[in-house]
Amino acid sequence: MSMAGSAASTPAIRLTDIVKSFGPVLANRGAALEVAPGEIHALVGENGAGKSTLMRVLSGMYAAESGRMEVNGHDVTGWSTADAIDAGVGMVHQHFMLVPTLTVAENVMLGRELTKGGQLDRARAEREVSELSHATGLAVRAQRTVADLSVGEAQRVEILKTLYRGAKILILDEPTAVLSPPEIEELWHVLRQMRDRGETIVLITHKLDEVMAISETITVMRHGRTVGRLRTAETTPAEIARAMVGRDVQLAMNYVAEEMATTPSPGAQVAASEPLLVVRDLVVNDVRRLTAVDGVSFTVAPGEILGIAGVEGNGQTELLEALAGLRAVRGGSIQMGRHDVTRLSVKARGDAGLSHIPEDRHARGLILDYSVAENLILGQQHRFTRGVQLDRDQILENARHQIDAFDVRPSDPQLPARALSGGNQQKLVIAREMGRAFQVLLAAQPTRGVDVGAIEFIHGQLRAARNAGKAILLVSADLAEILALSDRVAVMYGGKLVAVLARGDASTEVLGPYMTGAATGHAA
């Protein structure tokens, strides 16, 4: 592994031996970071490696237990968020921190309100935000309400907010998670412009293609430690991945695609067999009672993975919730095999053979204060009873079996789910949903926020289920995942399926225009 030499000038950021723990979990255990002024620096590592924690320490949100922090050569150890903002260090978080009912200009000035005679000076705020927007290339109209913005625009507002406060060192936490490919390109363009003006950028990510595309230097973290520092020009994705995981890993998910290409789907062989999931003209409302799913029809055959690609917020969440029985259907029908399940409860659908990996494991998929064993029966609690009582022996035995089969770590069934890492929490959900008899699987963002090793494992499970003749509906914001796993790929845009393609016909280039609504209407 090649090491970059130390910069001759004073580094913009220098963190040494940072230690930060949350309860029993050490998030940072001697982490270090050095960033030269005017560079784009990628901070990479698997989920749970401690990247976000380290950057929150830098931006003053968390106080480290030990370690030293320097910004532009000054010792700033233990400063507050206010100090950090004053010193020009700004962080753009993964989850937007915007007030949806306020306008762009109002959000940007929030906390630094401009006033004239005791009243808010909206006109001046709008003028200043417009000027900043033009100067930086972060195009968004200052007068618009944040609730009406696309996700990409909302992110621009977040960056504008940080710059408005005079940030010279900008930290971006997984900024591309919610963006479409063209939006990502736009973001890269803006970041390069900012770098050319002399601003320093730290980009937290675990996507290696992004690292290669945009960064100049790379810091790799693993298990809370800094394990490497590389120059992008002198390294390869494989080398970065090895440093992240600590062993060789298969990259780009090619392994899945190759293996699946050589294993003909049982579904393809018995193409005449009836589909296990039939959705006809489905119409579903969102929370605001606006149409979110607008007349969607598709089928999934046994032994088939249908992948639904698309930028998040185009109705995928509502579609899945409707299929799972969590959201009322306004029109159309859902059939499992020959049974109409449109009006059935969540429990009845589960009994009919539906499994569901929900997109948000923290809100829906797990009860974080419940133990691993209890979480492993969630949705199946009526099968683990003796009279009115829960059968604790059976629950424990089930937990031991699933923990073993799905390699959940640590293996203590009594531990609260909260204490597990993101990857192991997801394994818990997968163990519960795939470790029992099922016919149809709804898999939403099955590998979001899990580490490379767990991704390999989860993809293996999905592939095995497909080969065992299950019908799988895969919804993912990760286009590479969709392309690697799906037999057919559909694109969802504006609540409609705008394209359904055979895997051979689908690629990032082909799907991109559909995802942004630039192209419509193509069915395989």
Binding site: M1, G224, V227, G228, S345, V346, I367, T385, Q389
Partner: protein, 368 residues
């Protein structure tokens, strides 16, 4: 930068420390230590209060203990008060476990006592307790459960916030009960109904002479039984599993096939039912009649009991004893310090518990 590349080849130690027993012991510490700390804090604040009245804390606390646990009458009064508080504390705790803040235990308690009294007045006298007690339990639970069921259904069906509806129902129900008593049931010249003869429950003083004059009665055992059954229901049954899941994460419960609306109204009925049975302590165990305003704040104090007891049935029994002791002790120390000081002390306990739970937890975690 000098980070060694070799470090990347050595396996890092596991992220999570060895768990098993340590984790469970920690959970126990986190459950009990905050309450202990809170009582210590309350004692210190109490010292300062007592000193401002020019008295010696030692003397006052000795008086307080002598007047409560120091003699059979005082102990009887403590047990009597703790009985009602156990029921209202359990009621609030069950609600909170389901994610519902039941402020209406006061009127549910009164309604339970009222319906039990009605049934008692209708029953022929001379029936054995073995037959009447189940009837009284059902009547009291039905009275409290009905009153609490209204906000439960309103929440499940229309999303009406239970804090608002239970508070409003307190006014409505208490006024209604007062009207019914005053207009139709009261004995002339009093605020209470006629005496109940059917299956009235004996006081302890009937068996143990030193308890003479104290209100403690066998409903105490019903309270302990209710705490055990509530614990069993919450932590051992499927419905309890679903109720707690709903309270922790309603979205995840919904995902797990739980009808959240059903859990809400059922939890409210259960909560109100528990509060209602508390009414038996006064109506059937102590006075043998229903009297206007007999609840006298025990329903509201149930909120404090549940919070100090950390919404755990056994914690609730403990907290009920603590608050009953403080309340009865107020009478014992009345001669040297104002009784209101005891009210302040109760408030201090509540604030100390609310504040010390996160703080003690933080310190515990840091110590590891």
């Amino acid at each position: 930068m000098t980070t060694a590349a070799s470090e990347s080849t050595t396996a890092p130690p596991p992220i999570a420390p060895p768990v098993d027993r340590t984790a469970r012991r920690t959970a126990l510490e986190e459950a009990i230590l905050p309450a202990v700390v809170a009582l210590l804090v309350a004692a210190i604040v109490g010292d300062i209060l007592i000193l401002t009245f020019g008295q010696s804390p030692g003397t006052v606390y000795r008086l307080l203990l002598e007047g409560t646990w120091g003699n059979a009458y005082g102990l009887g009064q403590v047990l009597y008060k703790a009985t009602t508080l156990t029921f209202t504390g359990l009621a609030v705790a069950v609600g909170l476990r389901a994610g519902l803040f039941n402020i209406g235990a006061e009127s549910q308690l009164a309604a339970g006592g009222f319906v039990a009294a009605l049934v008692g007045l209708l029953l022929p006298s001379g029936l054995p307790a073995l037959i009447t007690l189940p009837l009284y339990l059902i009547a009291a639970a039905a009275g409290g459960g009905l009153v609490a069921g209204v906000p439960g259904v309103l929440k499940a069906r229309f999303g009406a916030h239970e804090v608002i509806t239970t508070i409003m129902l307190n006014f409505i129900v208490l006024a209604l009960l007062n009207y019914l008593t005053a207009a139709h049931l009261k004995v002339e010249g009093s605020l209470h109904t006629a005496e109940i003869h059917a299956g009235a429950l004996p006081r302890f003083s009937s068996y143990i002479a030193p308890f003479h004059g104290s209100a403690a009665n066998v409903v105490l055992f019903v309270a302990l039984g209710a705490a055990i059954v509530t614990w069993w229901f919450l932590f051992r049954t499927r419905r309890g599993f679903e109720l707690r899941a709903t309270g922790l994460q309603p979205e995840a419960a919904e995902y797990g096939g739980v009808d959240v609306g059903n859990v809400w109204w059922r939890a409210m009925v259960l909560s109100g039912g528990l509060a209602g049975i508390g009414g038996l302590n006064f109506v059937l165990g102590y006075k043998h009649y229903y009297e206007e305003a007999f609840a006298s704040g025990a329903g509201f104090l149930g909120i404090a009991v549940a919070i100090v007891g950390r919404n755990h049935p056994l914690g609730v029994v403990f907290a009920a004893l603590v608050f009953a002791t403080i309340s009865q002790g107020g009478l014992a120390v009345n001669a040297v310090v104002p009784k209101q000081m005891v009210d302040v002390l109760q408030a201090v306990v509540i604030i100390a518990v609310a504040a010390s739970v996160p703080e003690v937890r933080r310190i515990l975690r840091k110590a590891r």
